[in-house]
Amino acid sequence: MAEILVYVDHVDGAVRKPTLELLTLARRIGEPVAVALGNGAADTAAVLAEHGAVKVLTADAPEFAEYLVVPKVDALQAAYEAVSPAAVLVPSSAEGKEIAARLAVRIGSGIITDAVDLEAGDEGPVATQSAFAASFTTKSRVSKGTPVITVKPNSAPVEAAPAAGAVETLAVSFSEKAQGTKIVARTPRESTGRPELTEAAIVVSGGRGVNGAENFAIIEALADSLGAAVGASRAAVDAGWYPHSNQVGQTGKSVSPQLYIASGISGAIQHRAGMQTSKTIVAINKDAEAPIFELVDYGVVGDLFDVVPQLTEEVKSRKG
C-alpha cells in the first residue's frame, strides 16, 4: 500500500488534534508515515501509533527552534526522499502551510491548501475545499508531482486505529538557507484554559454589539458554561476589546465547529468567510435585519446583555 507522509503538529511532544484528524484522512489513501520534528518529537510516537501511523520518523536539533520554517522544510524533504510517499499531508496552520508550500516547490509538486475533506480518486487524492467565503465547494487534485495537501482542523473525526508506529530517527542535513531567519525571542501565548479556537467543537463569538472589552466577560462566561472557545469579530478586535489571536474571519482564523454562537455580530462577508462552514449556527442580535440571520439555524432577535446571561444560567442549571 502507498505510504502517505503526515507532518505532525505538536507542542513539546503533545500532538495537536488536527494531526490526529489527518491520520484518519491519510488512512483513506494509504499507510500513514508520521514525521515529528523538534523538542519532544520522540514522545509523539505512542499517540501517533494509536491513530494509525505505521512508522514515525523523528528528528530534533536546535535549528528547529532557533530558525524559522526552513529547517523543518529540510527535514520534511529528507523524509520525502527516504519514503517516496504517494502524498504529503500537513495541518493547515500558518506555519504548516508555509512548510508544505516550500516543500512543494522543492519537489516540483502542486499544492492544495485548506482542504476540508479528502478521498481517494482515480488520478490521486481528491480534496474538497470551500471557496468565496464558503459559498462554493470545489473538488481539486494535484496534477503535477506528488500531491502536497494541507487540511483544516475539524475536517475528519479522530479515530483510533492501532498500528506499528515503529520509531526511526530521521537523518537531516540542513540547507545553507536554514539559518536565514533567526528567531531571536519567543513568548509563549498564555493559556486561557479554553480550547484552541480552530480546534474547538463549540465557539462563542462576540462582535461590535458587545460594546467594550469589559463586556466580553459575559461572552467568556457563556463559552465556559459550554466548554467552548471564544472568538471575536474584526470590529471587536479593531476596537481593542479582544486579542487578534481570537479573530474569526477572512483576516483572522477560519473555524468550522459543530456549534457557532455569534453574539452582537452583524455578519459582514469578512466574518462569514471565517465561520460559514460551522455545522450549526446560532445568532443573537438586536437588529432583526442583520445579515447573520440569513445563515442561522436558530436566531434570537434581542439584546445580548439580556439573552446571553440568561442562556449561560440555563446551560449551567441544565448541566447541573
Binding site: A104, F136, V142, T181, I183, V184, I284, F293, Q310, R318
Partner: protein, 261 residues
C-alpha cells in the same frame, strides 16, 4: 545606498460582490468588480513607512494579472508607491499559485530588489503561501506574517504572532516579508496622490520578457486541477424568535434539542 522595495499586489474580485467560477472553473472576473486585495494595502502601507524611514528608497508595486489589474497598481501608486510593473499575458489565464510565483520571482529578479513585501494572503484564493514560495524560489530568508516590521542597516526585524507563541524574527536583506492586517492601518490616497499616480511609470512585461514558456503557466500548465465547483445550497431558513424575556431560555431549549447541552 538606495533601498529597493518591491510590493506584490493582487487584483481580486470584490468580496462583497457575487463571486463565482467561470465555465473553465477559473475565477470569473467578468461579472464582478475587481479591486486591490485589501490585505495587500497593508503591504503597501508598510513599504511606504519603511521607505519614509530610509534615507533613500524606492517602492515598486508589482502585479500579475489581466488588463484591469492596472487598477490595483494605480491604487497603490496613489497611496504613494513610486512605480509599477504589470505582467500581463493571455497565456497566464488560469495560472495557479506555483505558476504565479514563478512569474513573480522572475519579474522581481528582473526589477531588482532588496526586500519584497506582500500581504498575508489574497482575499480571493486565501491560500497564504505565496510569500513563503517566493522566498524559496528567490533563495532568500522569509520573514512572514508580521504584525510589526522595521528595516535598519540591512536587517529586517519583525514580530510574528502564532497560535502558540509570539516570536521576534530577524534576517539580513535581501528577504521576503509578509504582513498581517495587524501591522497598521493602510492610508487613504490623497487627491494629490491620485493625480500624481497618473503620471507615474507603469512598466508592462509579458512572458517572453521573463523567459517563461507558455506551457509553464496557464490553466494547462497548472500544478493543480479543479474538477468541480458547486454552489453551496442556501441554508434552509432557520428558526428566528424575538426575545420577549425568555430568549435565552428558548435558545437553551434549542441547544438541548440538538444535544449541545
Amino acid at each position: 545606498m538606495s533601498l529597493r522595495i518591491v510590493v506584490c499586489v493582487k487584483y481580486v474580485p470584490d468580496a462583497t460582490g457575487d463571486r463565482h467560477f467561470a465555465d473553465d472553473l477559473t475565477v470569473d472576473r467578468d461579472d464582478v468588480d475587481g479591486l486591490l486585495s485589501e490585505l495587500d494595502e497593508y503591504a503597501v502601507e508598510q513599504a511606504l513607512q519603511i521607505a519614509e524611514e530610509a534615507d533613500d528608497a524606492e517602492v515598486t508595486v508589482l502585479t500579475v494579472g489581466p488588463e484591469d489589474a492596472k487598477d490595483a497598481l494605480r491604487k497603490a501608486l496613489s497611496m504613494g508607491a513610486d512605480k509599477a510593473v504589470h505582467v500581463e499575458d493571455d497565456d497566464l489565464h488560469g495560472t495557479d499559485v506555483m505558476g504565479t510565483s514563478l512569474v513573480l520571482a522572475k519579474a522581481i529578479e528582473k526589477t531588482g530588489y532588496d526586500v519584497v513585501i506582500a500581504g498575508m494572503a489574497s482575499t480571493d484564493g486565501t491560500m497564504g503561501v505565496l510569500p513563503a514560495i517566493l522566498a524559496e524560489r528567490l533563495g532568500v530568508p522569509q520573514v512572514t506574517l508580521l504584525s510589526e516590521v522595521s528595516i535598519e542597516d540591512g536587517v529586517v526585524k519583525g514580530r510574528r504572532d502564532g497560535d502558540t507563541a509570539s516570536e521576534q524574527l530577524e534576517a539580513s536583506l535581501p528577504a521576503v516579508v509578509s504582513v498581517t492586517d495587524q501591522s497598521g492601518e493602510a492610508r487613504y490616497p490623497s487627491f494629490k496622490g491620485i493625480m500624481a499616480a497618473k503620471k507615474k511609470p507603469v512598466e508592462s512585461l509579458d512572458l517572453s520578457d521573463l523567459d517563461i514558456e507558455a506551457d509553464e503557466v496557464g490553466l494547462e500548465g497548472s500544478w493543480t486541477a479543479v474538477d468541480s465547483a458547486t454552489e453551496r445550497p442556501a441554508r434552509t431558513a432557520g428558526t428566528i424568535v424575538k426575545d420577549e424575556g425568555e430568549g435565552g431560555k428558548q435558545l437553551a431549549e434549542f441547544l438541548a434539542s440538538q444535544k449541545f447541552i
